[in-house]
Structure formats: structure tokens, C-alpha cells
């Protein structure tokens, strides 16, 4: 992709950042607004139910959109090689986190003793960051010289897997 193609850099960075931020906003419940469909009112940030259920989905999307737009804007000003490096890092980190946390949960389930630390996200997150840093450092120079949008689907796919995992209780009740 052309180094001068700022629109493409913005678009690819937006996709990667928005997928990651949407997952974070959903799991930590960080909506920019709350919609109350029964009374048709909108509140800023998170608010509890009022006269019926509250909807946070629009707020999560808006939070992710604002954050991703800011990151994409910064990326469009940064050197292309840095952006590609950051996207490669985020993609590998997302995949590594997914594998590490899934393995942790499997080990937690199978272990005969209580290993509470395996339920925490932090060890998996630290391991994922370390793996991603190592992978990006070892990548051939040519891989992160130019921005390549082919990486971009990896983070949304990882995000969807994590979001899907948190819905498992609906299917096991």
C-alpha cells in the first residue's frame, strides 16, 4: 500500500483499533451513552435501567468509534512503518492472548487443585504482549516496511471469539 495513502492507513488502523476497543468497551461496560427504548430517552455514559430495559450496545459502539477514530488519525500522521509494526503487534498480541487465556481456562477446569490465578486475565495479557513484542522484533524487515491491510481481519476475528466466549452461559443454562 502506498506510503502516501493516508486514507487507507486511517481505514486499516480504524478497523484494528475499533475491534479491540469495542471488545474492551463491551466487557468493561463502558458505553458513551445509554438508550432507554421504552421511554425513548438517551443518557450520557452508563446509567441504570429506567422504566424498562436499558440498551448499552449503541454506547459501546460509539465509545469504540471515537477512540478508534482518534487512534487512526494519529496513525495517519505517523510513519507508515511504525503503523504496520503497531498493527502487526496488535494482531499477534490479540491472537496470543486468545490462545493463552483459552489454555489458562482449560488448565483451570482440568486441574485437581484450585489455581485461582489462571482465571485472571493479567497473566495471559502479559504473556501475549511479550510474545507479540518478540514476534515483531523477529519479523523480517520487509514485513513491516509497508502497511498491508491483509492483517486487519485478525484482530476483529479475535475480538469476535472473545465476545462469543462471554456469551457461552446463554447456551449452557
Amino acid at each position: 500500500m502506498m506510503a502516501t495513502d493516508k486514507a487507507a492507513i486511517f481505514a486499516v488502523t480504524f478497523t484494528v483499533a475499533c475491534a479491540a476497543l469495542y471488545t474492551v468497551c463491551t466487557e468493561l461496560n463502558l458505553p458513551l451513552l445509554t438508550y432507554h427504548p421504552v421511554i425513548g430517552e438517551i443518557d450520557l455514559l452508563w446509567t441504570p435501567e429506567r422504566s424498562g430495559p436499558a440498551m448499552y450496545w449503541y454506547g459501546w459502539m460509539l465509545s469504540a468509534l471515537v477512540g478508534a477514530a482518534a487512534l487512526a488519525f494519529i496513525a495517519s500522521l505517523a510513519p507508515e512503518a511504525w503503523v504496520q509494526r503497531a498493527i502487526a503487534f496488535a494482531s499477534v498480541a490479540a491472537a496470543a492472548y486468545l490462545v493463552a487465556y483459552s489454555l489458562s481456562l482449560v488448565v483451570y477446569d482440568k486441574a485437581t487443585i484450585e489455581l485461582e490465578i489462571l482465571k485472571s486475565r493479567w497473566p495471559s495479557l502479559i504473556a501475549a504482549v511479550a510474545i507479540a513484542a518478540l514476534a515483531v522484533a523477529c519479523m523480517p524487515e520487509a514485513w513491516h516496511r509497508r502497511l498491508w491491510p491483509g492483517w486487519a481481519w485478525l484482530v476483529p476475528a479475535g475480538a469476535l471469539t472473545v465476545l462469543g466466549y462471554y456469551l457461552v452461559p446463554y447456551f449452557t443454562r
Binding site: 486514507a7 475491534a19 450496545w57 491483509g150 481481519w153 446463554y170
Partner: protein, 156 residues
């Protein structure tokens, strides 16, 4: 009720159009025609895939906006009934559809970027991957939506 049912039908029709467009594009991209032939399958594969990009983007956005609008009504009518009936798998499927649809929307900018230069050989792999990812999202959402809608049935 008539308004919501009408919107749901339009949403479904738009989804069918989107499904057709993205499937056509993905097939043409992943299974290109090497030699011309008169068969239906070959003609199906021989379409110029670049011409579908804006149709896919516009159809996705319009279908998404319509779905997000209908969702407000679903949230305080159908969903409450499904929860009372303990149809948790259906509720969970709809939650999944909500996330899959959002991820599809998020994929659109990168999909567009991959198709910026449709003749560029350097980005051919990126185009194939982004198109396939979006096609899988659209298919998943279509199937989930179809199954979930059948839980209570049209007009129930």
C-alpha cells in the same frame, strides 16, 4: 406493529441483496475463471468483483442501520418474552448476532482500503482475505437472524 414488521421485512430483503453481492464477489475472487465457458457456474464466477465493492458497503451500512433501529423494539418486546419463556439460546444467538454485525461494520474500512487499487497485485491476498472475512460475517448474521426470527415466527 405493522411498522416494525414492515421494517423487518425490508431488513431481510436488504440482507438477501447483501448476501448475494458479497457471495458473488467472494466466489469470483477465490475461484476465478481461467477459461471462458457458457455454464451458469462459470458465468457466476466470471463477474468483475471490483464492481461489487460500493454495493456491498452501502448495502451493509443500510442493512445494519435498519437492524439497529428494529433492535430497539426487539429489546423491550420479543426479548422479554423470550426470557420469560427461558429461550436463553435464542437470546444468546441474538446477542451474538449483535456482535457479529458490529464486527462486520468495523471490517468495512479495511475492506474498502484493500479494494482501493483493485488492479494492484500486491494487495490481491489482502483483498481475498478481507472479502472472505466479510462474507463469513454476512453469512453468519443472515443464518442467525433467520433462525432467531423463527423462534417466535412471523407476526407472532
Amino acid at each position: 406493529m405493522v411498522l416494525w414488521t414492515t421494517l423487518l421485512v425490508i431488513h431481510s430483503l436488504l440482507a438477501v441483496a447483501l448476501l448475494g453481492a458479497i457471495t458473488h464477489q467472494a466466489v469470483a475472487l477465490w475461484w476465478p475463471v481461467r477459461a471462458p465457458s457458457g455454464s451458469f457456474v462459470t458465468r457466476y464466477r466470471a463477474v468483475p468483483s471490483a464492481s461489487y465493492v460500493w454495493a456491498v458497503i452501502v448495502l451493509y451500512v443500510v442493512t445494519f442501520v435498519m437492524g439497529a433501529w428494529i433492535y430497539t423494539h426487539y429489546r423491550y418486546t420479543a426479548r422479554l418474552a423470550l426470557e420469560q419463556l427461558r429461550f436463553f439460546k435464542v437470546v444468546g444467538s441474538f446477542e451474538l448476532k449483535e456482535h457479529v454485525a458490529t464486527i462486520g461494520l468495523i471490517l468495512l474500512p479495511a475492506y474498502w482500503a484493500a479494494w482501493r487499487n483493485p488492479r494492484s497485485a500486491d494487495e490481491a491476498a489482502a483483498r481475498r482475505q478481507m472479502t472472505l472475512a466479510l462474507a463469513l460475517v454476512v453469512w453468519a448474521n443472515f443464518l442467525i437472524g433467520h433462525v432467531v426470527n423463527n423462534a417466535r415466527g412471523f407476526g407472532s
